[in-house]
Symmetry: C2
Subunit: 118 residues, 2 copies
């Protein structure tokens, strides 16, 4: 497991940002909270994450123990991702972000939960 | 005033990230919550924000109405920055980030409040 090593400072906010502080990671984590689990589901989100960025971010958050993956298909091998306890603990952060956005950015609306594919 | 125009999606989290979703902006906003107001104070933070990035981020968050600036000195002209109501409304987001970091990144500690310079 990878750790952030307090490289910029010992501030807890800084260290969270060193893991998820970019324009894409928290969008993938939002998708996981919405119920998405598969590569194709993340790719299909409205924000149109580029596939190379998605692959990079999934690997990265797995290294930081925010998600785990399990295979759901072989040949070709495909994985489903789900949040770990450490990942799920980001829920209050995302909830407060959503509240702020709904209040301060006109026209925003929460996305609906997604039912799992089988 | 600048607006984000829902350019990636209508998701409130995405739109918050389009304003503050990088490795530096929320660190400057954290500093403002700690009581820092002046350019030199932001520069002196442990994270060592590069001056060009600081200048860019302060301009950007002013355009998005998260901070206002007032001159405290002329010749050379210098400004003090402070959070607007919209900026102050990010406090629960930062609080939840700090809680997560304290819990999940070993060795993190909150920075103390800063007394204003006169």
């Amino acid at each position: 497991m990878r750790s952030v090593n307090l490289k910029r400072s010992i501030c807890p906010i800084t260290n969270l940002l060193d893991i998820v502080g970019d324009k894409w990671t928290l969008i993938v984590i939002r998708d996981l909270f919405l119920g998405k689990r598969r590569y194709a589901e993340f790719i299909n989100s409205k924000e149109k994450i580029p596939t190379n960025i998605l692959a990079d971010r999934l690997t990265r958050i797995e290294e930081f123990d925010l998600v785990t993956k399990i295979p759901y298909q072989t040949n070709p091998l495909r994985f489903e991702y789900s949040l770990t306890e450490k990942g799920k603990a980001l829920e209050p952060v995302l909830n407060e972000m959503a509240k702020w956005g709904l209040r301060h950015v006109k026209g925003t609306k929460l996305f609906p939960k997604v039912l799992p594919e089988t």
